[in-house]
């Protein structure tokens, strides 16, 4: 007699815990052949606000971690993903990717994290500097994280795009609330399980699943989100910019209508970090 397998109940990773939506709503997820796979939580505005609270709690501690420590934790996350890369690839294949494409997406995601693990203790050396002011002052500019970053992922590349958008934010000490791909949410669910075992403090990365149309307005208007980054269509971009103006939120959005080559190295690096930091300049007199 063949054994009846246990099916997994997908849950979202928020505040270091695995939650269902407070609304109790789920939506069925079908694989590429149309077979039922699982029920995915449909997070609400309230779930988003709860996630912001969790991120706000985790933020100061994460920002104070040494750059070296943040790098080690990002590297640890990559180690966790590498060890479970088959599971990640299967999660991507549910959305219809070929095995080869899914494996490539997982490998690119892990390489990208390794790339950022090396940035944690270097971006400051390139973005900060001493300024040769004309008066006898020691004048220097350093970077600081912005705070809580809202991430809107595209429908495609459900793992790689998510990693591409999250990694620079946490590299420089921000916390993140990311909305997973609406049509391919399962890789984000699996990633949450790896985040939980990666030494990354709970609340630093929070992953929501659900309907984009319901959540985008709250992402745009929530005053505690200091920036929105990711991918959006023309209508969303306008909506987000309008609402973001109320709290002078930073908005960095790629156009959903333009194709993005997610594995490209051009999408990673110092400029992605620079969009998620503030600069602080300090003056101090020099003299006996």
């Amino acid at each position: 007699m063949s054994r009846l397998p246990i099916t997994k109940t997908p849950k979202c990773y928020v505040g270091g815990a695995f939650i269902r939506s407070e609304s109790g709503r789920v939506a069925p997820l079908h694989d590429a052949r149309g077979a039922f796979f699982a029920n995915i939580p449909q997070c609400t505005r309230k779930d988003l606000r709860n996630a912001v609270e969790a991120a706000a709690k985790a933020g100061p501690g994460w920002a104070k971690r040494s750059a070296y420590n943040r790098g080690q934790i990002l590297y640890r996350l990559a180690e966790m993903m590498e060890a479970r890369s088959a599971e990640l690839a299967e999660a991507i294949q549910i959305g219809g990717s070929t095995k080869a494409d899914a494996n490539h997406e997982v490998a690119s995601s892990i390489e990208r994290l390794i790339h950022y693990a090396g940035w944690t203790d270097k971006y400051e050396q390139l973005l900060g500097n001493v300024n040769p002011v004309a008066s006898p002052h020691f004048n220097f500019t350093v970077t600081e994280p912005m705070g809580i970053i809202g991430v809107l992922t595209p429908e495609e590349a459900p793992l790689l795009a998510l990693i591409t958008l999250i990694a620079p934010a946490i590299t420089c000490g921000n916390t993140v609330i990311a909305l997973a791909s609406e049509s391919q949410p399962y890789p984000a669910i699996v990633l949450g399980e790896m985040l939980a075992t990666s030494d990354l403090p709970g609340g630093v990365v929070n992953l929501l699943t659900g309907q984009r149309s319901e959540l985008v307005p709250t992402f745009a208007s929530h005053t505690h989100l200091r920036a929105i980054s990711g991918v959006a269509n023309a209508d969303e971009r306008k909506e987000i910019r309008l609402a973001a103006a109320d709290s002078v939120k930073r908005v960095n959005l790629r156009k959903a209508e333009d194709p993005t080559d997610w594995p490209s190295p051009k999408l990673q690096g110092l400029s992605a970090i620079r969009e998620l930091i503030e600069f602080k300049t300090t003056w101090h007199p020099i003299g006996a």
């Binding site: 750059a67 070296y68 790098g71 080690q72 590297y75 390489e111 390794i114 790339h115 693990a117 090396g118 940035w119 944690t120 203790d121 270097k122 050396q125 390139l126 020691f138 690096g269 110092l270 101090h284 007199p285 020099i286 003299g287 006996a288």
Partner: protein, 499 residues
């Protein structure tokens, strides 16, 4: 009224009494006893394999705390060094020099992680071989070595950021010679940036401390680093000369005494080799009258007694503002009395063994010269072990600038105290040396720290702290303390050619 709102002035309390327990209660021994998995015969590491030296000769490596033999160390001759260079050249041409940076970085990350895995073994091996207290090798040398690999691993795929406006390329094969004071850490300082940049390496550890370097070859094997990328050849001065002088070395890097550094510089004159030198020091540690004295005393002790004073950047010249000299000396002596000198393997030990008989003789000779020249010597009343090479923590007061103990690098637990009255005099005295590696400043005033940092001719200035190191922070000297930097972006530039 403002006057009335001030808190009432406290009546002066009698100065708090000090409790000095001396030998009243002995510490229980707290020895580190884990197995460091040492080989009794350490062969050369060439082309990814441990190989016997071509001439079949070995020399002894002893534990300086017990004077017992630890292992036979292979003596590399010119033939072995040549073999190492040919292997390194081949690895550079066929694999390492053309490997994408991200892949090179992943090897370095592996090395960092494996070193963390074996941290305890390496710490014990380092202490047995070099004599430094286990708490230092455990909490400083080994973790810092791993951190250097981790930091530089991240640079390997970001080299386009190293030199703005230029593209950087590796140099080829690099020859490196490292000292005995931080054997594994100096190896990490040298290897990590060279490898991140895409160079391959022939490195020689110091003859008294080769064990952890050769043991590091096992890490490289575990990491599956391609053969020839790193070659480790042990030996004494002749081997070192062969490593520095080999025609295949595109660059040489040396850390050691200024005296040997000058010999090496002369020996490569007329060649196209790039050179970096990290040499001796005679750092001024300057204490102003507004400094927090208890913190300053801790910093002075750390500055000169860390690693038995075998530190090129040791704060060996204490410059104290005249008005607080007595207070500082009193506190300093009291602090030195409770330093625990002895078995390096004991977790409570503050000062371990002097690295070698030769170094002990050198320290002894310089201290005798200090007494002869009229400086006033204070030594901790501690008892020294009957076997092994040990020296009491020592402080010379009434030192003048002309004394040998104020001018020459002692490289031992010996502090020379001088005084000054004004900021300008402090600067003048601090800079009155051929060296320029580091300096310390203790004051509550931020603007003065920056003034001192501006005026001091030294590559590293510590303010209200001392002997701090980080992979992100460039380290290296002015003047006869050498040139080139290790750590940070500046350290990487020394391992590349800019196009």
């Amino acid at each position: 009224m403002p006057a009335a709102s001030r808190p009432a002035k406290k009546t002066a309390r009698p100065s708090s009494r000090e409790l000095v327990f001396g030998d009243l209660w002995e510490f229980d021994p707290a020895p580190e006893t884990a197995d460091p998995k040492l080989k009794t015969k350490c062969d050369l590491f060439i082309h990814g394999q441990f190989v016997k030296p071509s001439a079949g000769k070995y020399f002894d490596s002893i534990n300086p705390a017990t004077e017992t033999k630890l292992a036979d160390i292979a003596l590399a001759t010119n033939t072995d060094v040549d073999l190492a260079y040919r292997s390194a050249r081949k690895a550079y041409d066929s694999v390492w020099g053309r490997m994408p940076g991200a892949e090179r970085g992943k090897y370095l990350f592996r090395i960092a992680r494996l070193l963390q895995d074996h941290a305890r073994e390496f710490a014990i091996a380092e202490t047995l071989d070099g004599g430094k207290p286990i708490k230092e090798s455990r909490d400083f040398d080994v973790p810092m070595a791993a951190a250097h690999f981790f930091y530089h691993a991240g640079w390997a795929d970001k080299l386009e950021y190293v030199s703005p406006g230029r593209s950087v390329k590796p140099l080829g094969v690099v020859g490196q010679v490292i000292p005995w004071n931080f054997p594994l850490l100096m190896l990490a300082w040298k290897l990590a940036p060279a490898l991140a940049m895409g160079n391959t390496v022939v490195i020689k550890p110091a003859e008294t401390t080769s064990i952890t370097a050769l043991k590091f070859g096992e890490i490289l094997q575990e990491a599956e680093l391609p053969p020839g990328v790193v070659n480790i050849v042990s030996g004494a001065g002749e081997t070192g000369a062969a490593v520095m002088g080999h025609p295949a070395a595109a660059k040489i890097a040396f850390t050691g005494s200024t005296e040997v550094g000058k010999i090496i510089m002369r020996s490569v004159a007329g060649t196209d080799k790039k050179v970096t030198m990290e040499l001796g020091g005679k750092a001024a540690n300057i204490v102003f009258d507004d400094a927090p004295l208890d913190q300053a005393v801790e910093g002075i002790v750390n500055g000169i007694f860390f690693n038995q004073g075998h530190v090129c950047c040791a704060g060996s010249r204490l410059l104290v503002q005249e008005s607080i000299t007595d207070a500082v000396l009193t506190k300093l002596k009291r602090r030195i009395e409770v330093l625990r000198v002895g078995d390096p393997m004991d977790k409570n030990t503050d000062l371990g063994a002097i690295n070698s008989k030769e170094q002990l003789n050198k320290i002894t000779e310089l201290v005798e010269s200090g007494v002869r020249e009229g400086a006033e010597l204070y030594q901790s009343p501690c008892r020294l072990p009957s076997k092994g090479f040990f020296f009491k923590p020592s402080v010379f007061s009434n030192v003048s600038m002309s004394h040998r103990v104020a001018r020459e690098e002692i490289f031992g637990p010996v502090l020379s105290v001088l005084t000054f009255r004004t900021v300008d005099e402090a600067i003048e005295k601090a800079n009155n040396t051929a060296y320029g590696l580091s300096a310390g400043v203790w004051t509550d005033k931020g603007s003065r720290i920056l003034k001192m940092s501006t005026e001091l001719k030294a590559g590293v200035v510590w303010a209200n702290t001392y002997n701090k190191f980080d992979p992100t922070s460039p380290f290296g000297g002015y003047k006869e303390s050498g040139f080139g930097r290790e750590g940070g972006r500046q350290g990487l530039i020394d391992y590349c050619r800019e196009e």
